[in-house]
Symmetry: C2
Subunit: 359 residues, 2 copies
């Protein structure tokens, strides 16, 4: 059975401001110094899913940018343009319909465009097993991340302790998906060993997930059917532009994963990070002996546990700790590391104040 990669690139990435902008969301940033996040996402699928079978679903406004930035990796018609952001269920349903209608059924693996994975071959090894699990039938497969601290920022997936499927794939039956916990609960999850972080990576047959839409999200399924009927005809763009913005906004987790049966999870332990805010730079780069991560030119005196990211200027720091300093072509950000999440509040204020040039 053919394998397809679906990369979801619809995010606005306001928490990565001022690096990320409306015109350049996080997935296009080169944060590792190697390549953009979306290109790294495509490339790391390698051996498991070939580039010719990779799709990117993105906002229509970013479709051309995606084509240019992926630099020959993607076929032009593998960039699926959403006329509006309708959350992950719509996005995945659209991609599933595209595959079924235009390429016949196939295994589809769904990935965020802006996550980091340190151990890429470890990732591919788990992904290969996930694909083989999905190939077995009508299973909904996800990759859960082995937690290494009691995070309150991620949802969790609970495995059935007796749910080991086969020696071959190591997939376990899922007992439940749970929302972001408080710290005490997160500690309990970590100790139990039954819980994994929900990374948002899903693997299944396109036909199988469409059946789930039909059963659990019939309103969305109707929209997808109408779009599907137009596919390959000259009405396709028109139908998408008309129907897609009306699809109910719901996440695949809430709409299907938490309610479906036959959900299986494989444990991943390959240095995953969702790069949710600027402090993730510490994961993407090895801190020096003072705990500092430096990208660009920097000169420091008595500086500890800081992130210094300069695009063009020398950043000089004296006597500071736990700061994130970012310099871009029009902005300097100085943020206490514990407040990295609040960058989005600055973005909101800039919006309110009409300072669009900084967005």
């Amino acid at each position: 059975m053919e394998r397809y990669g679906i990369i979801m690139a619809g995010g606005s990435g306001t928490r990565f401001w001022p690096l990320s902008r409306k015109s350049l969301p996080k997935q296009f940033l080169n944060l590792t110094g190697k390549d953009s996040m979306v290109n790294e996402t495509i490339d790391r699928l390698a051996t498991v899913i070939e580039k010719d079978h990779v799709f990117v679903v993105t906002n229509a406004a970013h479709a051309d940018l995606t084509f240019r930035m992926t630099n020959g990796r993607l076929k032009r018609d593998h960039i699926l343009a959403e006329p509006a952001a309708r959350n992950t269920a719509a996005c995945i349903g659209y991609a599933a319909m595209e595959i079924v209608k235009k390429y016949g059924d196939g295994i589809m693996g769904i990935f965020a465009s802006d996550h980091y994975i340190k151990d890429e071959s470890g990732f591919r090894e788990v992904l290969e097993r996930a694909v083989r699990t999905a190939e077995e039938g009508d299973k909904l497969v996800t990759i859960g991340i082995k937690p290494y601290f009691p995070s309150t920022g991620y949802g969790y997936i609970k495995r059935k302790s007796s749910g080991l499927l086969t020696e071959g794939t190591g997939a376990a039956e899922v007992e439940e998906f749970v929302e972001k916990p408080d710290l005490e609960t997160a500690k309990r999850y970590l100790e139990s060993g039954d819980y994994l972080w929900n990374s948002g990576m899903f693997i299944w047959k396109a036909s199988v997930i469409l059946k789930q839409f039909e059963k659990l999200l019939p309103d969305i399924y109707d929209c997808l059917l109408t779009i599907g009927e137009s596919m390959g005809t000259e009405r396709e763009r028109e139908a998408i532009d008309e129907i897609y913005p009306k699809i109910p906004k719901i996440s695949i987790d809430y709409g299907i994963m938490e309610r479906a049966e036959n959900v299986f999870v494989l444990e991943g332990d390959f240095g995953w990070n969702d790069v949710g805010s600027l402090d993730a730079m510490e994961t993407l780069h090895e801190p020096d002996e003072n705990g500092n991560v430096v990208c660009g030119e920097n000169i420091s005196l008595d500086v500890k546990d800081c992130v210094s990211y300069g695009e063009s200027k020398l950043i000089a720091m004296i006597g500071v700790e736990n700061l994130i300093v970012v310099e871009t072509n029009d902005t300097v950000l100085v943020c206490d590391k514990s407040r990295a999440q609040d960058v989005k509040k600055i973005v909101e204020r800039l919006e309110t104040e009409g300072k669009d040039k900084y967005l």
Copy 2:
């Protein structure tokens, strides 16, 4: 008797990096948002010393820059170019000789080019009395600043408690000049009421200070005599270039003020600040209700007691306190306020590392 203003503009201002540079020392910076420090220094003499009688002594490398930046305030031949920096005694002796030889004797008032004075008319009132004190004869007059905290960063001047000279000028005889004290001593000075900060402002007749050079610094006096003999002849530049770099390096405080008799001080209380390091920005600008001083564009969230100085970029700050953030065309500085003095260490390191473009 004619009055002359001598503005010493020989500093390199490394503590104001990255705003100050080798090619743009502190005196040329516009830190108040009104005008450059040297222009404010010239202008505030007004009514007491007219612009036509103001001289600036500066490094030969900055002579043209001084002429341009003072924007018509100075006659070209009132810019006295030092071929080498030889400390304040040499600088003042050169200016005194220039006045005596080319303009006849006169009162000369000596001022730093890079200090700030908030109450300019208060300053002029004291200066006028200082000039009249100097006109009385062979007195060496200085203006001491009424201390308002036990500073360990300034030298002090002790008045004789019985030393009030006249009701008219309010000058007091000086008992001694003392070096920068430790904190305990500074506290004692503050309490006693007899001590004033040494601001480096001096007022005397040119002929009187030259007599002091002859008596207390005869080596320097010999150099000044040789230079003086060349003045007004075509050998003048040549003589200065040859002799001046050989003048012993000594400060006027150490060389003359601490050793001379007949020294008088007037108390000044007009919001003086020597703008010695970047934290002085708090004195030059009124902090807002959160204690922040903002120059340029800034957006902040939970920020207290910070200085934000942006030349061209938006500076965004989140959850930080007591920081100085400065953005210039090629550099960003992020410095804990208590470490503002250490900016010069960064400059030294840039020199050592050969990163001249940032100096």
